[in-house]
């Protein structure tokens, strides 16, 4: 192999079917050493199945799974060297926190003192040392999940797999644990794959996101790239929010929406006459004074004003022919200057470098 350090995990054409249903249609990707990768997608997209195939808990119908260059496709889970945390925690209820964490160490003939030391070390890491002698049922959900994490990390695996680890927790705990887990992963430098359906979780935690849909990988990239440069309409709608306008291409970089002709980002593969969908994120829509002197300008009426805390969402409807519906986020600090209320008319601008064009009708992934 040319690269002296092979990727921590490499999947080549992994496919899976459950009877007549095809769950994965040939997925290939790599995860670098020390990287935090999220499999993101709606339920039923195949992300959990893919994780279970990596873990060896589910046999694939085709494809190869490599770990650090070693083909593990046919190895049982116990010979793959990873730690796993499930959504349900799967803590052993009859064992104390300490015994749970020690569970994977006890079969390794380490000697009691070394096992004890390692358990303490891990419980310190997740700040649960005082709860050592408690049983899982006596801990909160977030604490239980941290025990599960410590248990998975105890035998020092080279890979950490997280299957929707935060989904069963309340919103507040989830947020705190998100940061804690990410910091822990950084500190240990352990290669991590996390499955989630929560785009916010993926955006804040991952080094790279694998967006999946219907058993295929839609896009792989850093969170910022996925957000700003979605490669498909599906990704655009699943990650963040986006206004979508059905349009017809007229010439490179220009498309018509009703009576309006709008300039958009250069989009390869778009030819004149083609049906396209234009997309712009709510926070990229400019209104009021900020829209003056910009390209792609139109006038719209404020249909509703929705206070959402840090920002306010305006529902707008363009005036005249081809009345486009838009949503627009205005920061709380800018709202006062704008002086909008329901019914008033405001100038709106859709900056051309924020307006993306997709060669798909908007209803495709509804």
């Amino acid at each position: 192999m040319a690269d002296p350090r092979p990727p921590a995990v490499a999947l080549e054409g992994v496919a899976k079917r459950f009877g007549g249903v095809i769950a994965l249609r040939g997925v290939s990707l790599t995860v670098a050493e020390g990287e935090f990768v999220c499999f993101l997608g709606p339920s039923g997209c195949g992300k959990t199945t893919l994780l279970r195939i990596v873990a060896g808990l589910e046999p694939q119908n085709a494809g190869i799974v490599r770990m650090a260059g070693r083909d593990v496709s046919r190895l049982p889970p116990s010979q793959r060297n990873y730690g796993i945390v499930f959504q349900s925690y799967a803590l052993f209820p009859n064992l104390t926190v300490a015994r749970n964490v020690a569970y994977g160490l006890e079969t390794r003939r380490l000697g009691r003192a070394r096992v004890e030391a390692r358990v303490d070390e891990l419980l310190d890491l997740v700040h649960l040392r005082p709860h050592k002698q408690r049983y899982p049922a006596q801990l909160s959900g977030g604490e239980q999940q941290r025990v599960a994490l410590a248990r998975a990390l105890a035998p020092s695996p080279s890979l950490l797999l997280l299957d929707e680890p935060l989904s069963a927790l309340d919103a507040r705990v989830r947020l705190a644990l998100r940061h804690e887990m990410k910091a822990l992963q950084r500190r240990l430098g352990i290669t991590t794959i996390m499955v989630t359906h929560d785009q916010e979780e993926a955006l804040t935690m991952a080094d790279r996101i694998v967006v999946m849909n219907h058993g295929v990988v839609e896009q792989i990239g850093a969170p910022a790239d996925i957000y700003t440069e979605p490669s498909s309409l599906f990704v655009a709608r699943f990650v963040g929010q986006m206004n979508l306008l059905p349009a017809t291409a007229v010439q490179p970089g220009r498309a018509r929406v009703g009576a309006l002709t709008l300039r958009h980002r250069p989009a390869p593969g778009v030819g004149p006459g083609m049906a396209v969908t234009l997309g712009i994120r709510p926070e990229e829509v400019r209104v009021g004074a900020a829209a003056r002197d910009l390209d792609n300008r139109l006038t719209a009426r404020v249909v509703s004003v929705q206070f959402q805390g840090a920002f306010t969402r305006l529902a707008l409807r363009g005036l005249g022919d081809g009345a486009v519906a838009l949503e627009c986020d205005v920061a709380a600090t800018a709202l006062a200057d704008l002086g909008v209320k329901e019914g008033v008319e405001v100038p709106v601008a859709l900056a051309p470098d924020a307006l993306r064009a997709f060669v798909e009708p908007p209803g495709l992934h509804a």
């Binding site: 899976k16 040939g26 006596q138």
Partner: protein, 571 residues
């Protein structure tokens, strides 16, 4: 980005490792056990029913003879008639009793429940013997009143079976009545429905599956029971006694097999329907249901209390007759107290009782290990083969004891077979009990396994811990309440069972329940009652031990659990 690929039907095969080999081997052992002791004997009995007594194949000839010979064919209609009547009476009586305990505010509910459970601790024929003592030609009541009710025949069978089946029906109906949703009653009251209307539109529909289940269980118990009709049936022949007569009385094994196969049909049918009905019952109870607080009008409470007292007195009366008859010199002529019946001089002392206790203890230990480990292996390996084993494990509940016993004669008393060595040993008695009572413990174990997190095994595998270690350190401790319940179920049933083992006991391996039958047959009914008293006493003692064990287990596991799983069905 979507890539068109053909996904093959077959999965990539795992490399074989020691754990998989062990798992496969254990599953294979379990399959072998069910094959040798269940599937093969059942196949044998069907095959034998198609042969004549010299071993020549005659197709359905035996069946034609069975239904066309009035002397033996009448056992079919007799069985169905007795089972239907006993079913109707038992369920009606048990429903009111269960309703009183679950829905009314009457004092001493715990005591009433306990008394109603008593018949479970005795072999079925004990109730028949008691009825003979009370209403027989020389019965106490008959002599006192001078009125002979004619206990021998259908009347006596129905009476004794009602007594014997009462606790089974009551337990099912209690569970169904206890699972009520108070919100429905609040709604009915808010809509101004009368008590009668509420009962008809809320209470009855809520327990209809419980009622159906109770009906099927009682029907199956009665139609497969051998002890009661043997003692009190007289000339009234039912299928279970007909099998015995054909095999023991006339050495006509093929006709015995034929009657057995016919008896399988209603028993199996009732079991299948019962399983379907039970599944519906569970679906009926919503998790958000609010439990109903017991309470009735004053008059209703008083009436229900009177009813329960009457029935409890009847049950206690029957028991009093048994205990009394065993302690007096000669019922009903000489009431001088004596312990001489407890010497069992005609059957050589206490060997049968000790045998029974040994067999019951072994059945409890071995049965618990096999059912729990078997349920674990089947539940955790989701393969087609495991599915077949699951279905096979459900089969025994539909096999009447007489049929199983006869099947074992065919398999284990065949000349030149290696399995022949088991014949006449205590081992064959243990095995027949294991199979006879296999299904309920197997399902109890499966249920408690299903309640555990399915990822336990996956977590262990990822940590490099072999499955058997996790089984021992996690699965077994969590399931301990169920395991204790399973072993008690095996023990109590093995103590009182008669039907399968009546064909399998041999000199030296006599059992207590069979001794009761033989003593009664030989006219030594006082000794029969003495033996019954001892069987009941041991059963009650075992139940006490069970309670103590369960309390100990609960206390030990209190730290890590709030709810303990009670076994779904244990005597």
């Amino acid at each position: 980005m979507s890539v068109a690929v053909a996904v093959p039907e077959r999965v990539v095969r795992r490399r074989v490792d020691a754990e998989r080999v062990l798992r496969g081997a254990l599953l294979g052992l379990f399959a072998l056990f069910l094959w040798v002791f269940l599937a093969w004997p059942m196949a044998q009995i069907v095959w034998r029913s198609l042969l004549d007594n010299r071993g020549a194949f005659i197709g359905l000839g035996n069946y034609v003879r069975y239904v066309s010979t009035p002397a033996i064919g009448v056992s079919i209609t007799n069985s169905l008639a007795v089972a239907s009547v006993a079913m109707a009476v038992t369920v009606a009586l048990a429903f009111v009793y269960a309703y009183a305990l679950a829905r009314a505010r009457i004092p001493g509910r715990g005591l009433f429940r306990l008394v109603a459970m008593l018949p479970i601790f005795a072999p079925s024929l004990v109730s028949a013997i008691a009825f003979v003592y009370a209403f027989g030609n020389n019965g106490l009541v008959t002599r006192q009143t001078g009125f002979n009710v004619g206990i021998y025949g259908a009347k006596g069978i129905v009476l004794a079976e009602v007594f014997y089946c009462f606790p089974h029906a009551m337990l099912i109906l209690m569970a169904a009545l206890a699972a009520a949703d108070a919100r429905l009653y609040d709604a009915a009251a808010a809509l101004g429905a009368s008590r009668v209307k509420t009962f008809m539109t809320v209470t009855l529909p809520g327990v209809k599956y419980g009622l159906m289940s109770a009906c099927f269980v009682v029907f199956t118990l009665v139609i497969t029971d051998f002890g009661v009709p043997k003692v009190v049936g007289g000339k009234f022949s039912v299928m279970a006694t007909e099998i015995y007569n054909q095999v023991i009385g006339q050495q006509n094994f093929t006709m015995g097999a034929t009657v057995s196969v016919v008896l399988l049909i209603p028993a199996a049918l009732a079991c299948v329907i019962d399983r379907i009905v039970q599944r519906r019952q569970y679906a009926l109870v919503s998790s958000s249901a609010r439990p109903l607080a017991p309470g009735q009008g004053r008059l209703t409470n008083a009436l229900l209390l009177g009813y329960c007292a009457l029935l409890a007195a009847a049950i206690l009366g029957i028991y009093a007759v048994i205990v009394g008859a065993s302690l007096v010199t000669r019922w009903p002529y000489n009431f001088a107290p004596t312990l001489k019946h407890y010497r069992f001089d005609t059957i050589g002392g206490y060997t049968p009782l000790l045998n029974s206790m040994g067999v019951a203890a072994l059945t409890a230990v071995v049965g618990t290990v096999i059912t729990f480990a078997g349920a674990y292996l089947v539940e955790k390996s989701r393969t087609a083969a495991a599915g077949v084993l699951y279905m096979l494990a459900l089969l025994p509940v539909a096999v009447p004891g007489m049929v199983l016993g006869l099947a074992y004669i065919f398999v284990f008393n065949a000349a030149g077979s290696v399995l022949n060595r088991l014949y006449g040993t205590l081992a064959i008695l243990v095995i027949s009990n294991l199979i006879h009572y296999f299904t309920v413990p197997f399902l109890t174990a499966t249920t408690s396994l299903k309640q555990m997190d399915a990822e336990f095994e996956n977590v262990s595998a990822s940590l490099g811990v072999p499955f058997y270690r996790t089984f021992w350190r996690v699965t077994v401790p969590i399931a301990l309440p169920s395991i204790v319940g399973i072993s008690m179920y095996f023990f109590l049933n093995a103590m009182v069972t008669l039907s399968a083992v009546v064909f399998l006991v041999a000199p030296g391996t006599e059992l207590a329940a069979v001794a009761v039958l033989l003593l009664d047959d030989a006219g030594e009914s006082a000794q029969a009652t003495a033996m019954s008293v001892l069987i009941i006493g041991i059963g009650l003692l075992a139940r006490l031990v069970y309670w103590a064990l369960l309390r100990g287990v609960t206390r030990r596991t209190q730290a890590w659990t709030t709810a303990t799983q009670e076994p779904t069905s244990a005597a």
